[in-house]
Subunit: 361 residues, 2 copies
């Protein structure tokens, strides 16, 4: 899919207070040989292939993403403006073995972009090389410094927000798939990223969980500014109002996004909130709808639910179809798994775009 279809945060939209990344990218895989540790790179390849000039791994690493293989000098000649660290490590630390490669990239004229916990500038060799060469070291986990406070002012344009019964069940993927489908359907739509992988895909955004809490709603407001009346911002959700660790982030994002449409994301069969020792049951979809609408109406009385995005990745094709049909019948809402797509997803997209379609379900 061409990147333009997902829109682009930052420069072209003239956003303040939002990260804006240099693109296109050279995807760096380091010495990571397992694709599950190179999800960031794989996500970029899948969602913004025309922003991915090439891939590059350390010598001897056989991992390939299917892009042209180039070293930094070759990638720079081919138009790349930044190297993205597309590999992850346990603990989020940068491996010392990667540093010479990053220095080589800066020498070749590339900025460095990282989504790791450890700030790039905390590595003295990288910091001094960046200063000497005039390159940027960009940590997408670090929010912009000039975030405003939330104002609650009603903005022009339309907004869709993905919300969840839990963390890590498809809110980003759903928002990306909806932005793509909206554009395909002829609507103007921009994916608005709120987490590090989303920000790399969009070329900008705000890492909501790293924002100082006083500025949560203001950051979300800055992320989806005034727009033409027929333009959709498709905002990547974070956390869940029902998650005892992260609900504050979800509420700040919900208020600041002023959504016109909510899409409820759920993983079929998940029984308990992940990442906690304490047992917290997954709330019902109905509870999630009720509580999100109560809060969203505070900033937009006309907010409605577009439908349900059901993650059926653990089901067979047949089981998934049945689960989707059952959930749709039970709730009276369009339901689809965006990864499986198909007619169910088309109906979900229609319902999000056109309230009448949703009511006719």
């Amino acid at each position: 899919m061409p990147a333009s279809r997902l829109g682009s945060a930052g420069k072209e939209s003239g956003l303040m207070s939002v990260l804006s990344l240099p693109r296109p990218y050279l995807l760096f895989l380091g010495d990571v040989t397992d694709l599950s540790y190179a999800k960031t790179a794989a996500g970029l390849r899948d969602w913004v292939p025309d922003q991915c000039v090439a891939e590059w791994a350390l010598p001897g690493n056989p991992l390939r993403l299917g892009l042209p293989v180039m070293n930094p000098a070759e990638a720079a000649r081919a138009g790349a403006r930044a190297l993205v660290i597309g590999a992850a490590t346990m603990g989020g630390a940068l491996r010392p073995a990667w540093v010479p490669a990053l220095l080589e990239a800066m020498e070749a004229g590339l900025d460095i972009i990282s989504g790791m916990h450890m700030p790039l500038a905390s590595i003295p060799d990288l910091k001094s090389a960046a200063e000497r060469l005039g390159r940027q070291l960009i940590d997408v986990r670090r929010p912009p410094a000039d975030l405003p406070l939330g104002t609650g002012r009603k903005r022009t344009g339309k907004r869709l927000l993905t919300v969840g019964t839990d963390c890590a069940l498809g809110k980003k993927y759903t928002a990306l798939a909806l932005a793509q489908a909206f554009t395909r359907a002829g609507a103007k739509a921009t994916f608005r990223a709120t987490g590090q992988t989303g920000i790399l895909i969009a070329g900008g955004g705000v890492p909501m969980d790293a924002v100082v809490s006083d500025f949560l709603a203001g950051a979300a407001e800055a992320l989806s500014p005034d727009a033409p009346a027929d333009h959709w911002d498709i905002v990547e959700g974070q956390g869940s109002l029902f998650h005892p660790s992260y609900a504050g982030v979800s509420l700040g994002l919900l208020h600041g996004s002023q959504p016109d449409v909510l899409v409820i994301c759920h993983e079929f069969g998940r029984k308990r909130i992940i990442g906690l020792d304490a047992h917290y049951p997954i709330p019902s979809i109905e509870e999630v709808i009720e509580l999100n609408l109560m809060h969203a109406r505070r900033v937009n009385p006309d907010v409605r639910v577009g439908g349900i995005s059901l993650n059926t990745s653990k089901l067979s094709e047949d089981e998934a179809r049945r689960a989707i049909e059952t959930e749709s019948r039970r709730t009276g809402l369009p339901c689809a798994d965006p990864i499986r797509g198909g007619a169910a997803f088309d109906r979900l997209v229609e319902a999000c775009l056109e309230p009448e379609a949703a009511l006719a379900q």
Copy 2:
């Protein structure tokens, strides 16, 4: 009121991840001649007089709080451990005229505590003097560096949280008054501070609005750790679930506090949310109860509403009494203005301590 009645965050309770301030204080008034710009100092004098060794103003400033007047050397000899900047300026910047006084305090052996926006260490003369003399420059707006993520684990002991229909209507005052009244009634109670003035009063706490949003609930959990079964943490609320700028802070604090009892704070007659150009009506007390309980039950199914704290500061004595009675009858809950105290406040305290009392109202 003796400070010990409000308990003390920090060292004695062995809290991790929570600010702990050196006390007692010398209260510094600078060149501020208007008491309304010295509210921090006045609040400390009122709530923790035995932690206030003395007051000190710049030469020629006639403002007095009624404490002994001492210079830093005298205050240090009288036991003071820190100078608190008890005066405020428009914009939160520190006045250059104050710097020599702060240097004199450090020379006399005192640490410096500030609740201003501008970090103390951003003033080179203060920074170098602190390093040279081994003094602390403590900004109570800056949260501890080692905050944990929220776990949702049920903790021992009891917790009361003040929540509001808006910001700035008495959540801190209500929590302080309840902590004092609980102690007077023979209960073990500790005031837990979540904003800068509260932190100065308590001698510790976490400035919730300055916490990185991922750690909101974790910070609130750290603030009120496991305690004996009959001990009450009285947690100072922040913001409002209905405030479009700050609701995320309120929800993180609500989840992390795991309250057993909520006290709803409201200002009589306030019609719209303050601090916004956009018009947001004040929610009804019933809406505030419903939404706070929905969220609070997620972390503590047994949570209940103790009653209503009604700010009647704009009413006459008679009007206030009628307003309090009307609100109590209308909602079926104990209602009082803690500043006015009296029998209504005693009933509110009883209802918070004893669920049976609340039901019998």
